[in-house]
Symmetry: none
Subunit: 210 residues, 2 copies
């Protein structure tokens, strides 16, 4: 078996170095490049060969996901292991749909990184527990708000999720504040989302806000 050529993209130098040391303990792995931003990573990987890219999605340059997509389109043979802070279902499923070959959360054990890289090298698709669970959740959300809420309720929901106050919404929809308050109650009951922040988070992770 020949040596796996691994590249690391993470905006935190310390984290990169930590990874490098970790990975270099493995005899079949060489770290061939490190990148601190998306552009550099993209340029280098288009011009040079690597087997695996360990990619932190939360990178500056605004678009870890975008880079992932572009890289996969340009260099399809490159295996990409996403290594993210966030285990949110939406994030995981976005990343996998964008073409990631594996997904680890940063709460994984150090060994998990090594075995994930080796697994990838062998053609596997390693997912951390958390990521697998998240993917599962993302699949079967049968009680999405737009399904349990009436049209008007859903409209109020999106407004609430944007942080508008009850009376602002009433003004905007030209109805009584009382009515909006009543809708709010119904929405909370039907969705289980207790406050505007929860609604916002829900709406965001489910891409319900434009």
């Amino acid at each position: 078996m020949t040596c796996l050529r691994v590249a690391i993209a993470d905006d935190h130098a310390v984290v990169r170095t930590g990874f490098r040391r970790l990975l270099e303990l493995e005899p079949n792995v060489t770290v061939v490049a490190e990148f601190g931003d998306c552009e550099t990573a993209y340029t280098w990987l288009c011009a040079n060969h690597a087997d695996i890219l360990v990619l932190d999605l939360s990178m500056p340059g605004r678009g870890g996901l975008e880079t992932l997509r572009r890289l996969k389109a340009r260099v399809p043979t490159l295996k990409i292991l996403v290594f993210s802070m966030h285990g949110a279902p939406a994030m995981v499923s976005q990343a996998m749909q964008a073409g990631a070959d594996g997904y680890l959360t940063k709460s994984s054990a150090p060994d998990a990184l090594i075995s994930a890289v080796l697994d990838l090298g062998a053609g596997g698709h390693p997912l951390s527990q958390e990521a697998a669970h998240a993917l599962n959740e993302a699949g079967n959300d049968s009680q999405a708000p737009h399904l349990v809420l009436s049209p008007r309720e859903f409209q109020v929901f999106t407004l609430l999720a944007q942080g508008l106050a009850v009376d602002e919404i009433a003004g905007r929809l030209c109805v009584s504040g009382k009515t909006v308050a009543n809708y709010q109650t119904a929405i909370r009951q039907k969705t289980g989302l207790g406050n505007a922040l929860e609604m916002f988070r829900y709406a965001r992770t489910h891409a319900l806000l434009e």
Copy 2:
């Protein structure tokens, strides 16, 4: 010079391991403990001796800052080096006020960690460029919440910004719901942030949420 006894608290096992490897390259440093959560760290450090704690503020157990305060109160001789994702002015100044002896952002060079630890051991107060700059900014930014809010108010603010309900916060802080409600009112008045979602947005754009 005797060996510096260093402990590491970070919720990401991979990061801890990276630090350990980095620090152990230095002959005058021994890593004596690693912690994945605040409680464990606190308990251990009260019972055992360490010279320096490298502390990631964004830890579970809700309250990296709080742990920092408690540790400083209980074990004043312990030097604490905060090592955070965020270089936000507010964060830096809160941490320093809570008693941190040094502050590095994760974008620092790997070597910076080592030199910061050594500097701390020699009685210095290492700040990363970013942190120093942030502290400076914090001085001029007279509207920032951490300046208009008291420590306790700021703490409640971060909890509200995370979407916790008043009573949940009361339970977590072991005070009356009435007190938290009163804090909430003060926070809203002082910051002009009218609801949890606005607080969340503010906190996010200012990177105040670990």
